[in-house]
Symmetry: C2
């Protein structure tokens, strides 16, 4: 099979196409499948974008981004985590997707492998496939909070493995790698002779815990972040990565060649993302996400979905639906047809126990979530 | 060597860093190394971007771009070339870089090879390297207008070769693959059992000839285009690709996974790129580029640079400087130090006769070009 053929489609895309068709026929559809905040980008960021356009900031920037933005991101680590990060280690990218591609490009060769959690964000293993890197999908359960841990590294690491990747908070499970577990993970990967890539793109969207960054535990991790989720800048396609000192040059070189540069206007707009008035808007949104989650969890439990681990971040709940169906993909299709609610079946996140799990995204208002839950209750009774 | 290590740096980047240092010391530097129009994006496009921001168009689009933009691009082929293109075949991308990566991802596997011209745009072979694809660099001379032709395909095609790539107009040579030569090339590649990728990112920047698109000769070519050059939208990071019908699905699937979507605001802005008032501005710029080229060519000849083929497109002149130096990289460094003129040495475009060639970009005004030529004349006499 060619590399393109090994990349499975997102099944939720078929659901989405069907949802759109139903909507065009006048049906009311509630979208709980979308991994994108429902809020538009905060006004101060939008205004900074308009300002940049008025000033005709339309030329290329350096491949690793505007110096000012790299500095502001470094300052952000100082303010938020009391952590000094050299701005030279901050690489601005066209979204976290580009950052991950850069990390894998400099850490692996064709035929190497990486360790990933199953369930996990499917694009990660597919980016690996495009780069001719094998993804070893490690089945994870509630026991490890659906995260890779040091024991997994010891058990699954192969001779050709170069890196392991964790996401904290995670998509689809919303769980976090706790600080001690992250320390152990970093050590285990170092002992194995590889690198740890930590996806922190949902940083800021954390509800019960004090946050930390993996950067505070080691200078040798690759930390991927994004302006899409907490900062609400999805369509702007902007992210960043903090790389170990010794990888600055190779990441720059690959970025020059495969991306040229991240979008200029997005970069100028993002300079406003860390300002105080923006922060206030974003913090109000965090409160709303938390309210949605707190509404959703008990209702799902009451309906018979098993919430095996309470999600502490992102905007997802990943539940065991085995009491309701053992074919979550078909169930999701039927739910859409009969009640007009779109959710993401487990199969989009891997294969391990995928047919008995489903993901709900709380990227809709509590009112809409309530309507959706009424429909689901009616559907399953 | 790991894949990242096989990617050479752009030597011109070292020159640029030195140029910036000299500028910071107060020296006057004339930049003839920059592959980016000196004009800012045309006002109607900028205004459309501002309008999109005011309307808070900040969410993701589909992976292959806004339906409206794909339609407008298809219409563009109808208006400009009297050619019907199904908008489903138009894939909007984060610049031509992303388009090329998609084309190679669906056409090759690790260990395959592609044919490229040497000299040629260096990123193309480096994108191949990142995807674990070997680039077979075919030495090309003035005899074939520095382009691959059917004879090259027959001679250099290997059992593992999957595609050949040409750029028309080309970077660094500004030459064009003429219609009959393109037909022969398409046939030769088909006979070899592979695919032809045609880079048309300098389309519109053509000075003496009537233009055509490779799409008018075959539905089986992959045609890459960009909003960066003719449309002057470099920093917006937006391009497109027209793919054969049978590749629509696989390109979509890879795009979803490795890029998610191209930048939203750039896409809304680009809707204005094909409007009449924009077209008038862009056509005036084409006239200015032509004036610059027509000034530059005879002056370079007089100074002893051999213009082996008159460039008919893009904004580059690639000259044989063997009468002046047999080490164009060192020569470029010395020219920068002594006279403050930055040019790109041949070595950035390949290895074939690279040390006796140099590229001048005419992305500066005629007045600035005149000042640069005075300095160069003084330097070489």
């Amino acid at each position: 099979m060619s590399r393109a053929q090994t990349i499975p489609p997102f099944h939720v895309m078929d659901l989405l196409a069907r949802a759109k068709q139903l909507e065009s026929e006048g049906r009311s559809i509630i979208h709980l499948e979308v991994g994108e905040p429902d809020f538009a980008t905060a006004r101060p960021i939008v205004d900074a974008g308009i300002q940049a356009l008025r000033q005709l900031k339309t030329h290329y920037t350096a491949a690793t981004g505007l110096h000012e933005l790299r500095q502001v991101i470094a300052d952000h680590y100082q303010h938020k985590f009391d952590l000094k990060v050299d701005p030279r280690r901050v690489v601005v990218t066209s979204g976290a997707s580009a950052a991950l591609q850069l990390a894998l490009s400099v850490l692996t060769d064709a035929g190497d492998s990486i360790l990933l959690a199953d369930p996990g964000y499917p694009c990660n293993r597919n980016i690996a496939k495009v780069l001719a890197v094998e993804s070893i999908d490690v089945p994870v359960t509630a026991e490890s909070l659906y995260q890779l841990n040091a024991a997994h590294i010891a058990k699954y690491w192969q001779a050709n493995t170069r890196a392991a990747m964790v996401a904290s908070p995670s998509n689809p499970t919303g769980t976090i790698v706790e600080r001690d577990a992250m320390k152990a993970l970093i050590e285990a990967v170092a002992v194995a002779g590889g690198h740890l890539i930590v996806d922190e793109i949902y940083q800021g969207l954390v509800y019960d815990l004090e946050e930390y960054t993996a950067l505070s535990l080691s200078d040798d991790v690759f930390v991927v972040n994004s302006f899409s989720k907490y900062f609400g800048m999805t369509g702007w396609r902007l992210g960043w990565m903090v790389v170990p000192e010794s990888y600055i040059d190779s990441v720059d070189r690959v970025a020059q060649n495969i991306f040229l540069a991240p979008p200029t206007i997005s970069q100028y707009a993002a300079l406003a993302a860390f300002e105080l008035d923006t922060e206030e808007i974003l913090q109000r949104r965090v409160t709303m996400f938390k309210e949605r989650r707190d509404y959703l969890l008990p209702v799902l439990s009451e309906m018979g979905f098993k919430v095996t681990v309470s999600p502490q971040g992102a905007f997802y709940v990943y539940v065991d639906c085995s009491a309701i169906t053992d074919d979550s993909f078909q169930w999701a299709k039927d739910l859409l047809e009969k009640e007009g609610v779109a959710v993401t079946p487990g199969i989009d996140f891997g294969t391990f126990e995928a047919n008995t799990h489903v993901r709900f995204a709380y990227t809709r208002s509590v009112d809409e979530l309530k309507r959706a839950m009424c429909r689901i209750a009616r559907f399953i009774k």
